[in-house]
Symmetry: C2
Subunit: 201 residues, 2 copies
């Protein structure tokens, strides 16, 4: 049985990563790894689907039990990827998708170097700033922080295997699907052994 | 300007590589690198399109001039990839496709380690033997040689970046297109620099 792969998505706020991820989950067999977080739910977010929303105490308990693939703090909130869920799915041949920030992705890379790391880029920095301002979900202070860190965030793209530009949504989704398809076509020793042993040669 | 990539295709005789390559050339912007060979044209093969068909003397002259990216001898015939044509196209941002045997691909890998190496696999060894026999273009002796070397040839798949199984032709073509698309999404330092410098940040 071929193991599933881990696809890790990051990108700056406002780049449209959430929309791409939703399309991939709707249109492929890849399954979402639900993160645990201490941040408050935004409108429309459902517990157990978007995130597992937990208290600081519950989060720390999982940390103490070694139950996270990675965990990190961003803007005062804690985010973590439950280890067991992702590992069980991959063992069963299911691809797992993580949607995490740069800091979390860097930590996942240490424990899962075989993961496929995908960074979503804006078509331009100006366009990204417009989108962040247009979203209107930020306080003045957090808006200032986000706008100021845009170039820094984009520089992290070099730690990723792939960069997908989200200029046209359909094209970006097609490219992500191509990456998933291509990653499954990467040479696999197991596959070759299976082919050679299938029949008497 | 982004440089073009080199996509190198190999696979055992009878696997249907030629059909896949033709579809890719018809349906994408990838351009074929026409090889030079001393073997006799098969029915329907056009000089300058399928191959440059040359004499042993002409071939040796190009060898002496250092004009090949690689060259090799297979079943008594010589095959070579003209260097200049491929390099000029890649400099101009055009992807180049090489359709060469395992020996030639190994030599290209030495001089073009950034090339993308794709091996076409049959769905099973039995199926491949059926296809080789069915093609009926072999002498009894060459048929014996080809059938005997099938398992050996498949073992070379491990030297390639990707393995595409040609069970269903449309699926195989889609997978190759996905590989081309994904390779273009691989992280590129130049692209990031361009994005960061495009505007005042």
């Amino acid at each position: 049985m071929k193991k599933g792969k881990l696809f890790v998505f990051s990108g700056p706020s406002g780049v449209g990563k959430g929309t791409i991820v939703k399309r991939i989950l709707d249109e492929t067999d890849v399954q979402f790894s639900v993160s645990m977080t201490t941040r408050k739910p935004r409108e429309g977010e459902v517990n157990g689907e978007s995130y597992f929303f937990v208290s600081h105490e519950e989060f720390q308990k999982t940390v103490d039990e070694g139950g996270f693939l990675e965990y990190a703090e961003v803007y005062g909130n804690r985010y973590g990827t439950p280890k067991k869920q992702a590992e069980e799915r991959m063992e069963a041949g299911i691809d797992v998708l993580l949607d995490i920030d740069i800091q979390g992705a860097a930590n996942v890379k240490k424990v899962c170097p075989d993961g496929v790391f995908i960074f979503i880029l804006p078509p331009s920095i100006e366009e990204l700033k417009h989108r962040i301002i247009g979203r209107g979900s930020e306080t003045e202070e957090s808006l200032r922080i986000r706008l100021g860190s845009v170039a820094d965030e984009l520089n992290h793209a070099r730690d990723y295997d792939y960069c997908v530009v989200n200029g046209n949504l359909d094209e970006a989704v097609q490219t992500v699907k191509a990456i998933i398809n291509a990653e499954h076509a990467k040479f696999s020793e197991n596959f070759l052994i299976e082919l050679l042993n299938k029949e008497d040669v």
